[in-house]
């Protein structure tokens, strides 16, 4: 007669089971934490970019207001582009470029490698005194990567 073998829950099996369970739960918890921190970092970056963009836009509006004020204060002036550019520079708007056709342009830093480009046309003797033709947020150009060879040597 074959001897009956007893099956016993061996010493050590429960420990192994417990260790495996704890390791799995710890991995899950760490993954959750890493994912949450990634979300928080993304939200912080989004905040930085949005606030910087609106701050640049606010500065652009103030610049336009100052330009309008300069032209309004000297409404009876016999304007030339050179004279107008000098008046704008005297008012603290040296970064505003003005060409012979009264096209103006300036750029403001909008954070995270971006710039707000504003362009338009000035009409100092008529109302409205300026017309916007461009109001664009531009990302900085990426450095040109070396061209990959089309065929292997």
């Amino acid at each position: 007669m074959k001897p009956k073998t007893e099956f016993r829950f061996g010493v050590g099996a429960s420990s192994i089971l417990m260790i495996l369970t704890v390791l799995a739960l710890a991995a899950l918890a760490l993954l959750s934490l890493v994912n949450a921190r990634g979300n928080a970092a993304l939200a912080a970056r989004s905040r930085t970019m949005t606030v910087a963009a609106f701050t640049a836009d606010a500065e652009a509006q103030r610049t336009l207001a100052l330009m309008d004020e300069v032209m309004a204060e000297n409404a009876s002036e016999d304007w030339t582009p050179k004279l107008l550019a000098a008046r704008l520079a005297r008012a603290g708007l040296a970064d505003v470029t003005l060409d012979e056709d009264y096209h103006f342009a300036f750029a403001l830093d909008a954070g995270v490698g971006r710039e707000l480009h504003v362009e338009g046309i000035l009409t100092p003797t008529a109302l409205p005194r300026y017309t916007l033709t461009r109001h664009q947020l531009v990302a900085a150009a990426l450095p040109a990567a070396p061209a990959a060879p089309l065929a292997m040597p």
């Binding site: 939200a43 309004a72 109302l127």
Partner: protein, 138 residues
């Protein structure tokens, strides 16, 4: 011998349970931290989207007060909204406030609306919505 093996198994089970309980206390804390961080990030993202939407509309709006009321802002005497400011309480756990300032010059009017987001008494961010309206007719 049987008694000895049974006792060893019992002791091992007790130690394993104690270790399991201790480890679960730590793991649950990590889960709670992750949940809190996620909730904060979610509130920040939603507040940013809403504030950006309001700011974009204010940039082209001629009546800042009417625009704020259309978005659900209410005039409120709140220390964060400042005197005469507007506030909007969101269901996502943040508060948006708007403070309007105007600078009038002969050439036109510069309207600045400072939008701020608050959560648990701390400011999340603040962004300006500025519009300059030049004189269109003499």
């Amino acid at each position: 011998m049987r008694n000895y093996r049974g006792n060893a198994l019992l002791i091992e089970l007790v130690i394993a349970l104690l270790f399991f309980a201790l480890s679960q206390a730590i793991i649950l804390r990590v889960f709670a931290d992750a949940q809190t961080t996620n909730a904060d990030a979610r509130a920040m993202t939603r507040a940013l989207a809403q504030a950006g939407n309001v700011a974009e509309t204010l940039r082209v709006s001629e009546d800042a007060e009417a625009t704020l009321r259309a978005f659900g802002f209410q005039r409120r005497e709140d220390e964060r909204a400042q005197a005469g400011g507007y506030a909007l309480q969101s269901a996502d756990g943040y508060l948006l406030t708007a403070a309007i300032t105007r600078f009038s010059q002969p050439a036109g009017l510069l309207t600045t609306v400072r939008l701020s987001a608050w959560r648990d008494g701390a400011e999340l961010f603040s962004l300006p919505a500025v519009r300059y309206q030049g004189v269109a007719v003499p």
